[in-house]
Amino acid sequence: MEKEILNKLLKLGADDAIVKITEADIEQVRFSRNRIDIAKNWLERSIDIFVAIGKRTIFTTIRDFEDIDRSLKNIIDFAKRGSENQSYYGIAKEGFNYRDIEFDKKIMDADCKEYVHEALNEIEGTAAGIVLKNHIKTKIATPYTHAEDEHTNIEFSIRVFLEKEVSGHRVSVADNIKEFDPVKAAIDAYELAKQYRNPRIGKIGKYDVIFDPLFFGSIVNYTMGSASAFNVDAGFSFFKDKIGEKVAPEFFTMMDTGKGLYSRRFDDEGVATGENRIIENGIYKTYLHNTSTAAKYKTKTTGNAGLVAPESWNFEILPGDYSREELFEDFTGIYLTNTWYTRFQNRMTGDFSTIPRDAIFYYENGEIKESWKDIRVSDNMLRIYRNIAALSKERQMVKWWYEVEEPGVVPFVLVKDVNITRSTQ
């Protein structure tokens, strides 16, 4: 069908076109206060179309399949009436060596509600969360390539409360059923909550902080947007003019990859996805590009074309040298396990704040001294990366709701001199 639509668009006058068809079967179970609130199932189909006539371009998403031929004519008519897009430099004509990415069919048969019951059986207190499984098929056709993709993944997220304001939150996310362990996530969340007793309001100041993978995953989640070349031009990036500069310590390497929880063989131009080291050995290496932004920056596409602008797919931080135990040994500072509501006061400078939630521990000499609450990390993204002091060997794949919306693999991260604030009254 994608080839048929492509040919029709070319006959109608498109100079270039991309047609991507996506089919999704998604199931979710939500639970709270130890019972299932709702079970959901979506069957969705969509056709994404890009058309260029000269430098006039248009993107369309069709989820209403009535009279497709008329929709295609309208798209061409619309493209002709638009103004020229001076940022457009064509779509990819090469870069189509796709790698095979296996997907686990067993995920499709997983019983979401059973995972909830199994997890709840292992813990005390009250818990809330979700189980979500995705089965996505994608086909893409351009005048220069045709490809298909299929992947599955499964997510479990649980927040356990033992009393008011005493909670732990963990996730288990995987692209194969063998690595999916919701029971362990539930027990870990419960154990975190058990350790987090009688929290008191934290103190302001500069602290060394160990960020849990779930927390640092959120930091990276809000960082990857700054790597998109589109956002660099739009004033949304604190990485503007940073290519070639040292932005982190030498042992720090962070990449975007097409293989992960949200695996994809190709981007929205049909270009094969790969690995792009954004920060390599502490040096900022590249923005993420599609064909048009790459032309502007006199480089090659990185295989990150989204429908409108370059996007990242899955992030990964390479492991460090420390065991988790070594990281906490003699540690004095704060261990932060989760966060939410990250906002910037200036996206070009990277000034931001984020609000730690769930278990927060103040450590002295390697031991938990107090549980804290009601604090805020109020700092600067560039300073956070610059002040990274150590990474753990152990890494976890994380993805959680909107706060770690893009999935990734992250170690525990020790950062020096993080600014902590709280309410004044």
């Binding site: 019972r35 993107f59 103004s83 031009d233 004033g235 602008a309 910037f344």
Partner: protein, 460 residues
């Protein structure tokens, strides 16, 4: 797709069923630094079915009619498996149709006119001679047709045209300052005049330029605060609207958007001064959050969430109302047919008082006028919030003086509302996209209020 036929197929097998249908056409333009970077069109049409059986709820959705019979079976099976002792409150039934009127119809407004408007707006802000190296404009118009039926007998249809716009500008002077503002309107392209968009955008870049070039370091310590309507609006949205959502109070959003410092038994407790009155009203004509009936077919009405400083009413869906043994107040919304309806805000605002802006300012000896905000956030129990001024000024002896850079207010919810001692007459609304639920449901809302005065708050 006849949704009454779908309802007939499913209702016999369950205790309750509802079917929602939507057909949507969205046109979207993105202009970056004067260039039209994207012209997007999105066409969607689909249905969702929600069923209740023996206390279990199942929800299914598709945009392909051939899946419907299969999905009905899945919905019933999922509900039967759940056995959660859930229910929906008994509500009055309605048969009605509503629509929002347009003066300059979206259907008759062509692409060229929209592009010219954005290009003209870009020219106007560049003619200020302010250095604005990065500028993003995004314009959306939506035509939404909706139908709703449920097995209680309610049948509602609606036609809802909407316009949304935002700008994000980066101004470079002695420092770099960034400004963002979102606009929303139910109706046609008369929205641009309603918003006074050109003047606001021009004033925005001039204000940021003053801060970037003349802004002094923000004073710290205890002083008075005058919040402009934009700041009042974000505060009431974050620390009144969200904590009064009944599903949060009952823990249903616990692992996502969080819970609430407010508990069910706290109705009537003081949260602020006697001058604090905050309402939530979906029935404001042409508002971004407008609706006549919510997504469960319950008639919309105004709610007073905080009244004379006391916690007064929560936002309910039929599910939360059933749990509390009361009736819904028509706050169940969904971002699209493929999302479940849950308690949400629509248009939340601080109820205006009697003061003019001059009267609010004249007896401030020393304080900050926070006209607009940049960074903001609040914890997931909605208690500790932070607002940083975007365009802000010193007030000294009753007069507005120098601009100041990014004053930081970090304060608890009662700390904020107990400090309020006066509210102005100058009610204004700002549009926003409110986030909640899983999968995320970004919803069109207005938030607003007049200028309000707070005494003796601490800036850090």
């Amino acid at each position: 797709m006849d949704i009454e036929d779908v309802l007939k197929k499913v209702e016999e097998e369950v205790d309750y069923a509802e079917v929602r249908y939507e057909k949507t056409l969205i046109n979207n333009l993105v202009m970056k630094n004067g260039n039209i970077d994207a012209v997007n069109v999105e066409k969607d049409k689909g249905i969702s079915i929600r069923v209740l059986y023996d206390g279990g709820i199942g929800f299914v959705s598709t945009n392909d009619p051939k899946d419907i019979n299969d999905l009905i079976k899945r919905a019933v099976k999922m509900a039967k498996n759940n056995k959660s002792k859930l229910g929906l409150s008994e509500e009055k039934t309605y048969k009605d149709r509503w629509e929002v009127k347009q003066k300059k119809k979206i259907e008759e407004t062509d692409l060229e006119w929209k592009i010219e408007y954005l290009q003209d707006l870009d020219r106007k802000i560049m003619e200020t001679n302010v250095n604005i190296p990065a500028r993003i404009f995004e314009l959306d118009d939506k035509l939404i047709e909706k139908e709703y039926v449920n097995s209680d007998g309610t049948k509602i249809s609606a036609y809802h045209p909407k316009i949304g716009f935002f700008y994000f500008v980066t101004v470079v002077g002695k420092t770099v300052e960034q400004g963002y503002k979102q606009f929303g309107y139910s109706g046609g392209y008369e929205a641009f005049e309603f918003w006074d968009l050109e003047n606001i955008a021009v004033e925005e870049v001039k204000g940021l330029n003053r801060v970037a070039n003349e802004g002094k370091e923000a004073p710290k310590g205890k002083m008075d605060l005058l919040c402009g309507p934009e700041v009042t609006g974000i505060a009431v949205h974050e620390s009144c609207g969200h904590p009064t959502e009944a599903d949060r109070i009952m823990g249903r959003e616990s692992s996502q958007a969080g819970e609430s410092f407010i508990k069910e038994a706290m109705i009537g407790e003081m949260i602020g001064s006697e001058y604090v009155n905050i309402a939530e009203d979906p029935t404001i004509e042409h508002s971004y959050g407008y609706y006549k009936y919510d997504e469960e077919g319950v008639k919309a009405r105004i709610k007073y969430l905080y009244k004379e400083g006391k916690i007064n009413e929560f936002l309910h869906s039929r599910e939360t109302a059933y749990k509390m043994g009361i009736q819904s107040n028509g706050a169940a919304r969904a971002s699209s047919y493929d999302r479940e309806p849950i308690p949400r805000m629509a248009n939340t605002f601080f109820v205006p008082g009697d003061y003019t802006l001059d009267e609010l300012i004249e007896d401030i000896k020393f304080g900050i006028y926070m006209k607009s905000f940049t960074e903001w956030n609040i914890d997931d129990k909605r208690y500790n919030q932070r607002y940083i001024g975007r365009e802000s000024y010193i007030i000294e002896n009753g007069e507005i003086k120098d601009p100041v850079k990014r004053p930081v207010l970090e304060i608890t919810t009662p700390g904020f509302y107990k400090a309020v001692d006066a509210a102005g007459k100058d009610l204004e609304f700002t549009a926003g996209t409110c986030g909640k639920s899983d999968p995320m449901q970004g919803l069109d809302v207005w938030m607003g209020g007049p200028s309000i005065r707070l005494r003796n708050v601490i800036f850090r």
